[in-house]
Structure formats: structure tokens, C-alpha cells
Symmetry: C2
Subunit: 104 residues, 2 copies
């Protein structure tokens, strides 16, 4: 579908992508974690896209099995949500994923 | 106003009140913290109240200065949001507030 192609293009062209909502603290947490690590994520704020936002959220669910935000990709690989990303960082694995993806 | 009276009645009749949204992880975090502490909070899910939900959220802002969720009250006292509640718990202060309010 058009939106599926959009997502694949976005995650292919950007080492770090966060599908987010502007009002959501879990989304803010993951965005600031990346900034603290010197990464400038490509952020898509789903709540600012009107009806396309919920369409995109459904597309992400069919692509990744995850219907929640934040939805994080590194090097085109689906990472998960806020807790998944924080856990990878606590395990010392996040920074190597980021450098492999050319994000840092 | 009607809604202001509703809020005052609710926080007066219930030792612990959480104004919440069902989809919000910060709201879930504070609700499960209370359950872990043996507390059964009175929860008001603002997203399930249609237009009255946003009216209530505005009323809470005028009463407490806080426009975000979760919005937590213990013993009729405004506590704050998720981070405020977690901080009080980390400082060892939350459980005495709860017993003073007759919540545990
Ligand atoms: N454990 C997940 C929780 C994800 C989650 O529940 N996200 C909420 C917002 S905090 C959500 O997407 N709710 C449904 C929605 O907003 O459409 C994470 O860490 O990302
Ligand atoms: N630091 C605050 C953050 C509160 C916050 O930003 N809440 C968000 C949801 S996570 C909110 O209310 N956004 C606007 C809205 O949902 O109306 C807390 O710990 O509670
Ligand atoms: S909406 Fe509150 S943490 Fe995501």
C-alpha cells in the first residue's frame, strides 16, 4: 500500500526513526534519550497528521505487530517501544546498534 | 461550576484519586504503583467521558495548575503527576501520606 511504501522509504533513508505523539511522555522519553546519545532521530508525530496519523499507526501495526507509540526503528530494524529501547541501553547494546546504523 | 464541585466531591470522598487516560503509559504506571502498595485508587478515565473528559481536564487545570495526566490526589491534597508520585515514593514519603489519608 502507499503508506507501507512510505514507512519502508522513511526507515530506509533515516538511521533512526521514531513514530511518536507530541503529547506522550513515553514518546518524549525515547526522543530525549536519543538526543542525549548525540543522535538526531527522524520523528513522525502521528497526532499532527490528522486522519493519516491513525492510518499510519495501523500500517505500522501490520508491519511490526506493534500498535503503540513510540515505535522505534534503527538501521531499518524494528526495535520496539520506549521500554525496549531503554532496556537495550541498560544492556549496553544501544550505542553499537546506533553506530552500526551510521547514526553516531 | 458543576465540574469543579464534582472534582471536590470526588477527592473528598476518596483517599486516592487518579485522573487518567486509558491509553497512557504514565497513567498506567501510577495506577499500578498504587496497586503494588495495596491501594485501590478511585480512577477517572478522562478519555472515556467524551467531551466531558476534556472539560474535566480543563477544570483540573484551573484547580491545580496542572493540565496533564495522570493527575493524582491523596487525602484531597494535589500530589501532581506520575514523576511527582514516583519521586515521593523514592523519598519514602508516599506510604505515610497514604496511611494518613486512610488509604492503607
Ligand atoms: N511498553 C510500551 C508501551 C507503549 C504504549 O502503551 N503506548 C501508549 C502511549 S504511552 C499507546 O500507544 N497507546 C495507544 C495510542 O496512543 O494509540 C513502550 O514502552 O513503548
Ligand atoms: N511529568 C509529568 C508528565 C505529564 C504529561 O506530559 N502527560 C501527558 C501524557 S503522558 C499529557 O497529559 N499530555 C496531554 C494530554 O494527554 O492531554 C508526569 O510525570 O505526570
Ligand atoms: S500518553 Fe502518557 S506516556 Fe504515552
Amino acid at each position: 500500500s502507499g503508506l507501507e511504501e512510505d514507512v519502508k522509504k522513511t526507515i530506509g533513508e533515516n538511521p533512526v526513526v521514531v513514530y511518536s505523539k507530541t503529547w506522550c511522555s513515553y514518546s518524549s522519553e525515547v526522543k530525549s534519550l536519543f538526543k542525549r546519545l548525540g543522535v538526531n532521530p527522524h520523528v513522525v508525530e502521528l497526532d499532527q497528521l490528522g486522519s493519516q496519523g491513525s492510518e499510519l499507526q495501523k500500517t505500522l501495526e501490520s508491519l511490526t505487530g506493534q500498535r503503540t507509540v513510540p515505535n522505534v526503528f534503527i538501521g531499518s530494524k524494528h526495535i520496539g517501544g520506549c521500554s525496549d529501547t531503554v532496556k537495550l541501553h541498560q544492556q549496553g547494546k544501544l550505542e553499537s546498534l546506533l553506530s552500526e546504523a551510521g547514526a553516531v
